[in-house]
């Protein structure tokens, strides 16, 4: 399947169908990206579903997801392409004598000897893909500059081969934790989406979607507590994924309510630093002692 969505609502419904509940702005930007062939730059704190968005888009559009995880020191050889030196060497040795230099040279710089890394494989794929460039802010500025050609024209230049244009238009999602300012040039080529922690009702819907067996009262109390915990000054505030994990943990334990005892036992699912645990235990433990509202 590869028909483009016709309206924002259609895309929003599609994302919902694959288990991702988009906010209205998320659905709108994703729709624009698909329609305009523009990359999306998603920024926001850790764990608000930036990466999930790309995955959900891929599964909704029925496309393969090609993922490039960025890190400090990532270079072209690992992101774009690399020559398969061993194979080239073997080729030269197998040729023994008698072959002219120019033939061998033409030969060993062919596509056969090219190792495609994520970016190259994304644009040379036969059917269009979703390309996820995760945590772009972890790389250095030089790498960003290298991406520009890919992002605006969907093409890559390989000196020995020439220009490789995309055979299909990928949907590109870049994510960033905003740990450094990205260059203007990169931002200019992208649509911008800022994702924040979801509103209470929205997160409740997400938790209920992923843990439908959990009683509504418990789920509501769970997201209320998570929201409270996020307000504290923690090293790592709990993400949406962790609320879902917590809901599942409560299900496994068969908890009917989050009382102070259950909270103390399962707190480590959402809080993962020793100092954070102390703060949360002191500040939230009491609030959890009140029984959940029953209606």
């Amino acid at each position: 399947m590869d028909s483009l969505p016709e309206s924002v609502t259609e895309l929003a419904d599609g994302l919902r169908a694959v288990g991702y509940l988009p906010e209205s702005s998320t659905a709108l930007v994703a729709y624009l990206a698909v329609r305009l062939d523009k990359p999306i730059l998603v920024e926001g704190p850790a764990g608000v579903g930036k990466t999930e968005l790309a995955k959900a888009l891929a599964s909704h559009l029925g496309r393969e997801l090609v993922r490039l995880q960025c890190y400090e020191g990532l270079d072209e050889a690992k992101a774009l392409y690399e020559w398969n030196y061993r194979k080239q060497l073997l080729r030269i040795q197998a040729e023994a004598t008698g072959t002219g230099w120019s033939e061998v040279q033409d030969d060993i710089f062919g596509e056969e000897f090219l190792l495609a890394r994520p970016l190259l494989s994304a644009i040379s794929a036969v059917s269009p893909v979703v390309l996820l460039i995760d945590e772009i802010d972890k790389t250095d500025q030089e790498f960003e500059a290298m991406l520009l050609e890919l992002l605006s024209d969907f093409q890559i230049t390989i000196p020995e081969l020439g220009r490789i244009s995309a055979s299909s238009q990928p949907v590109v999602v870049l994510t960033s934790n905003n740990s450094r300012e990205l260059t203007e040039a990169l931002k200019r080529r992208c649509l911008y989406l800022w994702l924040d922690y979801p509103a209470l009702e929205h997160e409740l819907a997400i938790v209920r979607l992923h843990a439908p067996e959990l009683a509504e009262t418990v789920a509501r109390k769970l997201v209320e507590i998570v929201a409270m915990v996020r307000e504290l000054d923690l090293k790592k505030p709990p993400s949406i994924a962790e609320s879902i994990d917590w809901a599942r943990a409560l299900l496994l334990l068969g908890a009917r309510d989050i009382d102070s005892e259950t909270f103390a036992q399962t707190m480590s699912v959402i809080v993962k630093h020793r100092t954070d645990l102390e703060i949360v235990a002191a500040r939230v433990g009491l609030a959890a002692a009140e029984p959940a509202h029953r209606n």
Partner: protein
């Protein structure tokens, strides 16, 4: 949609972009083209889609997004009003307006109150909007409002309508005011009142209010001593990461390096004595010593504590940082940073310990210079940097600029950060210009200015 309409819409978007630029958002032609392409894809009759499409293409950072939201509100509000003025539309010819003498009540006030309370309790936006218009019409002419200042009028109308969020037990059970009105709805209603009053003002005067630039204060440093420690902490953490990732790239003349003869010769041994690989001398960053003096009197505490913790977070970039705080007298707090790990604890310890030496609680800059000189005179290295953070408000006391000059003469650089906007400098008891002759003065009251300052400090250190 006729072409004429399309042209006005395009012009409107261009004008919006112009206002955004005026507020410091970088909107280029590429962004504008994207915006138009995006608007072609979404129904621009839907306000939220229209706004979302523009936001995604024009405002590309969290700060820009905040500015965008404010400008968008302001822009499209005035755009509607301007169009109404041009077309000569008048709205207040209806029956709601009181008789010409302005004395008589066109409406039963108690009835209006009950209706508004019910609408607020249901959070019915459309009804709230109508009632807000009615309330302004009813009250604006009979003295309940009419101060001419929108903010004051809003509060007067709200009082006249007896809208409160706290419970009013004297009411009947069924009355929504019995349990108190929801805060959120009340806030929204006030916003609508404000909107209506502004509209009325435009109606009366026939001109648009001048567009003010958004207050820089919307983007100011986190203020309020302990109000938002988490926010402060986040800013510090981010600043630290940002500064850590940059500075490596040196440009232009700075890039020039000198050849390390010894290592080049050694490398040439591999190539038979021909120096093919040139080795360059490594650039060793010079890490300066810092003396930081911070005013912690109530007017500037938050900026000071914030600044101190930024420097502490960056302590690896400096050889040694000694921090002092002062109000009337000076005391050293370097060890607090060594001892306390969390920002909250540091802030508490500073406000506790720094207060010890104070009698009146008023800053005395003159005395601080003498004491500070006596404290560090023997230690003060000629390569050390002295940074002062304060508003230079002496409360009318002798600034003793000569003492400060002597201090500045001993240090390599003396820098002054003033957490007040430049507009207020030398106004009232501020004597910043008396000191400005002996040091470099920086305006520093937004995180961006602070970031720029720290950046220049660390990059100057690398030279």
């Amino acid at each position: 949609m006729s072409t004429g309409k399309a042209a006005t819409l395009d012009a409107g978007v261009l004008a919006l972009a112009h206002e955004l630029r005026a507020e410091g958002v970088r909107v280029g032609t590429a962004e504008l083209l994207d915006a138009f392409a995006a608007l072609a894809e979404v129904g621009w009759r839907e306000r939220e889609d229209f706004r979302g499409a523009l936001a995604a293409t024009l405002a590309k950072s969290p700060e820009d997004r905040r500015v965008f939201d404010l400008v968008f509100e302001r822009f499209f509000f005035t755009a509607v009003e301007a169009a109404a003025l041009r077309e000569g539309v008048r709205e207040w010819d209806g029956a709601v307006e009181g008789p010409a003498d302005g004395r008589a009540e066109p409406l039963d006030l108690e009835e209006l109150r009950a209706q508004i309370a019910a609408a607020l309790a249901d959070f019915d936006e459309a009804r709230m909007r109508d009632l807000a218009r009615l309330a302004v019409a009813a009250l604006a002419r009979n003295g309940a409002a009419g101060a001419g200042v929108v903010g004051i009028d809003v509060q007067r109308i709200r009082r006249a309508l007896a809208l409160r969020s706290d419970p009013q037990p004297e009411r009947e059970e069924s009355d929504p005011r019995h349990a108190g009105l929801p805060k959120e709805a009340l806030r929204r209603f006030e916003e609508m009142l404000r909107r209506e009053l502004e509209r009325a003002q435009i109606e009366r005067t026939g001109t648009l209010p001048p567009t003010r630039p958004l207050g820089e204060l919307d983007r100011a440093l986190p203020s309020g001593p302990a109000a938002d420690l988490a926010a402060v902490h986040r800013v510090v953490a981010q600043l630290r990461r940002r500064l850590a990732t940059q500075g490596g790239e040196l440009r232009g003349a700075q890039r020039r390096q000198s050849i390390d003869i010894r290592r080049t010769m050694r490398a040439s041994l591999q190539t038979g004595g021909v120096p093919i690989v040139i080795r360059q001398r490594r650039r060793r960053p010079r890490r300066p010593e810092l003396y930081v003096l911070c005013d912690v009197s109530t007017s500037v505490t938050s900026a000071s504590v914030f600044f101190l913790s930024v420097l502490d977070a960056l302590h690896d970039s400096f050889r040694r940082v000694r921090s002092f705080v002062f109000i009337e007298r000076v005391s050293e707090v370097s060890d607090i940073f060594a001892r306390e790990r969390s920002f909250a604890a540091v802030s508490q310890a500073i406000s506790r310990d720094a207060g010890v030496a104070d009698i009146s609680g008023y800053t005395d800059y003159g005395r601080v210079w003498s004491e500070f000189r006596a404290m560090v005179e023997d230690d003060l290295d000629p390569r050390a940097n002295v940074i002062v953070l304060g508003d230079a408000r002496t409360n009318g006391r002798d600034p003793r600029a000569a003492e400060f000059a002597a201090l500045a003469a001993r240090a390599r650089r003396t820098l002054w950060l003033n957490p007040e906007p430049r507009l207020y400098w030398d106004y009232g008891d501020s004597v910043i210009s008396a000191y400005a002759r002996y040091c470099e003065v920086f305006e520093c009251w937004t995180t961006r200015q602070l970031e720029e300052f720290v950046k220049s400090l660390t990059s100057a250190a690398a030279r």
